[in-house]
Subunit: 125 residues, 2 copies
Amino acid sequence: MESSAAIDRLSALAQPGRLAVFRLLVRAGPEGIPAGEIAAAVGLAPNTLSAQLTILVQAGLLSSAREGRVIRYAARPDALSELIVYLMEDCCGGRPEICQPVQEAAARAACCPPAKSRSRRPLRA
Amino acid sequence: MESSAAIDRLSALAQPGRLAVFRLLVRAGPEGIPAGEIAAAVGLAPNTLSAQLTILVQAGLLSSAREGRVIRYAARPDALSELIVYLMEDCCGGRPEICQPVQEAAARAACCPPAKSRSRRPLRA
DNA sequence: GCGATATTTCGACATTCGTTGAAATATGGA
DNA sequence: TCCATATTTCAACGAATGTCGAAATATCGC
């Protein structure tokens, strides 16, 4: 991931309204939510929200699809993972002991069932 | 982690100079780097850098320690892990299939030796 | 104490950002 | 076609941001 793209994503998320929108959409899953419902949920005027959605889409964090009169927005999980990878990238410049806590924390946060072959204890116990 | 703290960290990192400084210091490890050397490395005027360092410290991303005439700054890896955990938090609201790719990417980025008992293939192959 | 070095603080400036109200565009239904 | 709904676009405003030059502060060695 390029530095300028990372900055675009970081600054897209670095604003209360946009962060709330993104988290809402991550929670909502792949189906996404129509713009109007998002506006109601986060308490933003439709035009204000529209500007914020544009920023999030341009940063690659959201996708949008028209469905009749409604435009449905959804989070792009890959965009978040790319950003996280970029942020962790430099941890490991010959110094694994530094980024290990980061790695562990990230694994802990991922409360998903283990990816392939790994079951030690119930996560988020 | 609180939402406002997350925003502070995101917006602290959402600026080219500050992101460059943070990455430099992550790479540098726990010993950190004196302010003057940082300024030279990232090409910022000393006073400009000072302002950016203040923002990074206030966001909790850096620590600083005076050593004689020099002030040495170091990255706080925990701050990054907290931020990543916060960003990943909502992935898993009943929808593990969404955040799984994120989790895998994070694990892949962490090029550290496996935390405890896990060796499938050379990471970053 | 004095001078030199390292860093920060202050004041000012142009630029960017987030919000608002009003108008424009797009879609679907009568 | 005409109207209602959903969303965006536009112009403008105050607030916040990043950078600069100059001055202040802190520390060290003489």
